[in-house]
């Protein structure tokens, strides 16, 4: 019996998206998702962006999330639709990005029969989602999607998958989205324990060589202002991880640069040699602290602020853990610090800053040997920073260009630096930029990439054409998989196994064939004029194919398996000797 006011599962799915205020979703249709696509067609609140590959749909939803405080949504079909989406889901999971992925599934009556385009979506995504659901009853669709959004955004955020069998998307029931979400087993932390906050502050006050190390958690929690205030109140050196760039302004004198494998000399040395380290929404990743045994050789006290208890004491021993939402926890720190009137010991701090500045002097900052003959990739990023006034959204792919962008584009705001930090997914940059551009219309969006990465999702130039996305692609084309080549040069006896990119397309013609503007830039003197020309074209996607020095390496570098103080500096640059601790 059909009751008045009943909706199909597909219609309910779309109504849920409307209720969540979703403006854009990214997807690709297919058999099992057709009822949902039909429901999308018959409304105009939720706009669908048709990508050219499901991986790109998920990266676009990811960029949408990272560059705003909203939740990106991707919609894919069963089988290859969901398997293609897995790389994107894993990318979001590793960086704790809130996201909801809806996948069509074969009819529930056929599950397990190896039906056409059947894959166990819940099984195949289980290790790379915060949670996932297979819908078994049309009445579960609305409460489950509501749960999915709640889980994605609360606590430590992450992607959540909802798999909807085709028959269920066509069954009918009444729609109700008003019931609150109750998950008895899930209570995300709020404020930190005040006793732990006080203990942490006491440690900070007695520190002689303090160091602040913040990560992506600060950005996810929207706590950049609180972090900035805390750093300035304490006057301690501050480093932001690759995921945390922009949380503290990179132009500030208390900022010592990024730590880790391609961090600055001073950030690496200060991380290694500090006596009290406060980690804020960071997870002591292997690319940040290097070899743990080496890191542990120095006696230091560690304070760790994180929303996820399992991030605490995972790789290093922690002396004072504080579990909570960082925005609230950092506020607790600020309130307590102002009330106790105690200040860090100025004399000790001055000695420590002298040491940190000596390291900064020895490291020589981020410098490279520029050339008038050949384009240096770092030079392109420096000019990109100048031309965009340091205020662009910058997405990147993965490799050398990613590290140069992280080093040389001085991010001063959160959510401006969009990159795949944890999973290191090549092909992320262009589709992510699409999501960024859609949620930030009118903003300047640059995708820093290389000729290797861009080819992993270059088909999205077609999506950009269809939806008029004026992204500026800054491709550092060195005819090598540069980071692979760099490791082969350093650690594999210059044997460049499969790292040479032969038979490259003519990127200008390729871009033009997609209906965009292509530029090839060969000379250093043309770099800035080309960027100015490209960024002045507010309505056009411009692909800049910069022919860069194929031999350039990323420095500083902490080789894999080495410790932070074993950081290698650019041998071609001067590094004056300074006194070490």
């Amino acid at each position: 019996m059909e009751l008045a006011g009943e909706l199909t599962g597909a219609e309910i799915t779309v109504r849920c998206l409307q209720e969540e205020g979703v403006e854009y979703i990214f997807g690709y249709p297919g058999g099992a998702a057709l009822h949902i696509y039909d429901a999308l067609f018959r409304q105009d609140k939720v706009k669908h962006i048709l990508v050219r590959h499901e991986q790109a749909a998920v990266h676009a939803a990811d960029g949408y999330s990272r560059s705003s405080e909203k939740i990106g949504v991707a919609l894919v079909t069963s089988g290859p639709g969901i398997t293609n989406a897995v790389t994107g889901i894993a990318t979001a999971y590793m960086d704790s990005i809130p996201m909801v992925v809806i996948s069509g599934q074969v009819p529930s009556t056929m599950i397990g029969e190896d039906a056409f385009q059947e894959v166990d979506a819940v099984g195949i995504t289980r290790p790379c989602v915060k949670h996932n659901f297979l819908i078994k009853d049309v009445r579960d669709i609305a409460p489950t999607i509501k749960k999915a959004f709640y889980l994605a955004r609360s606590g430590r955020p992450g992607p959540v998958l909802v798999d909807i069998p085709k028959d269920i998307s066509f069954q009918k029931t009444t729609f109700n989205y008003s019931d609150p979400v109750v998950i008895r087993s899930y209570n995300p932390p709020g404020e930190g324990d005040m006793n732990q906050v006080r203990k942490a502050i006491q440690l900070l006050m007695t520190a002689k060589r303090p160091m602040m190390y913040s990560g992506g958690g600060v950005i996810l929690s929207g706590a950049s202002a609180e972090l900035t205030e805390l750093v300035r109140l304490l006057g301690f050196p501050c480093t932001n991880t690759l995921m945390g760039l922009g949380a503290y302004p990179a132009t500030d004198k208390l900022f010592v640069g990024m730590p880790g494998m391609h961090g600055t000399y001073e950030a690496c040395m200060a991380m290694q040699n500090c006596d009290v380290l406060i980690a804020i929404g960071a997870r002591f990743d292997d690319r940040v602290v290097g070899k743990v045994e080496h890191f542990n050789q120095v006696q230091r006290k560690i304070i760790h602020l994180d929303i996820d208890p399992s991030s605490i004491a995972k790789r290093v021993k922690v002396d004072v853990p504080v579990v909570g939402d960082l925005k609230r926890v950092l506020n607790q720190f600020l309130v307590e610090l102002r009330s106790i009137k105690q200040k860090p010991n100025a004399a000790d701090l001055a000695v420590w800053w002298k040491q940190v500045n000596d390291w900064r002097f020895k490291g020589g900052g981020l410098k490279y040997n520029n050339s008038t003959e050949i384009i240096k990739p770092q030079y392109v990023i420096e000019k990109l920073y100048e031309v965009t006034g340091g205020d662009a959204f910058v997405t990147s792919d993965v490799g050398q260009h990613q590290m140069w962008a992280a080093q040389y584009y001085k991010f001063i705001k959160p959510r401006r630096w969009i990159n795949s930090g944890g999973l290191g997914t090549m092909g992320f940059g262009l589709p992510a930029a699409m999501g960024v551009q859609l949620i930030n219309p009118g903003a300047t969006v640059a995708c820093v990439t290389g000729e290797g990465s861009i080819q992993m999702n270059i088909q999205e130039l077609s999506t950009c054409k269809q939806f008029h996305l004026p992204i500026k692609v800054v491709s550092l084309n060195n005819r090598y998989l540069g980071m692979v080549r760099q490791w082969q040069e350093f650690f594999h006896g210059n044997r460049y196994a499969e790292s040479y990119m032969d038979a490259l397309p003519d990127f200008v013609k390729l871009t033009e064939s997609y209906g965009h503007i292509g530029m090839r830039i060969d000379k250093p003197s043309d770099v800035e004029p080309a960027l100015r020309e490209a960024f002045s074209r507010k309505k056009d996607l411009v692909f800049m194919d910069f022919q860069t020095d194929p031999t350039e390496n990323v420095f500083p570098m902490v080789p894999g398996g080495k410790g932070l103080s074993e950081v290698m500096l650019d041998p071609n640059m001067p590094h004056p000797e300074v006194e070490d601790l």
Binding site: G123, R126, P127, L134, R184, S185, S310, A313, K314
Partner: protein
């Protein structure tokens, strides 16, 4: 060190594989795992016997807690606790009739639960090492087959794992 972890989880399809998947993905040991619904049919209770350094056990507890379907986790090894495992053993009728077997049955408080013309099946409930001792006493070559449930655990006294 050996730890015995007890947890309450949503009695739903897929929860078991989330837990098993967590252990394999993160390289944790599972010595045994036993699970069944509780008196509240929406909940299942699982007992996991695992081993690892203190840091690994701490991570196992945290990672289990992080799973959305896991409602409560208790490391029983943190306090005094009881554990029991059920074992069924099938032996040839001739073995079951032997004095040695009967002695072992008496010592380990086994129960005869099934006989056929040529076989006999017994049931024992005890801690794992006692069951091992029984098997040793009977002798491996005397045994047709065995099946064990893995340990179920519960804390002693007032310590309770309940929602």
């Amino acid at each position: 060190m050996r730890h015995i972890i007890s947890l309450l989880m949503e009695n739903e399809a897929g929860t078991l594989s989330r837990i098993a998947g967590l252990f394999s993905a993160r390289g944790y040991n599972i010595e045994s795992l036993s699970v069944a619904p509780t008196e509240d049919p929406t909940l299942s209770r699982m007992t996991i016997v695992t081993s690892g350094s203190d840091a690994v056990i701490e991570q196992i507890n945290k990672q289990l807690n992080k799973l959305i379907d896991v409602v409560a986790v208790m490391d029983l090894s943190d306090g005094e606790h009881l554990e029991r495992e059920l074992m069924l053993v099938k032996v040839p009728a001739a073995v079951a009739a032997s004095e040695a077997f009967k002695r072992a049955m008496a010592v380990f408080q086994g129960r005869f639960i099934d006989t056929s013309n040529s076989t006999c099946t017994v049931e024992l409930t005890d801690i794992g090492v006692k069951l091992d001792e029984f098997l040793q006493a009977v002798g491996r070559d005397q045994i047709l087959e065995t099946v064990r449930t893995g340990a179920s655990g519960i804390a002693r006294g007032e310590r309770i794992l309940k929602l």
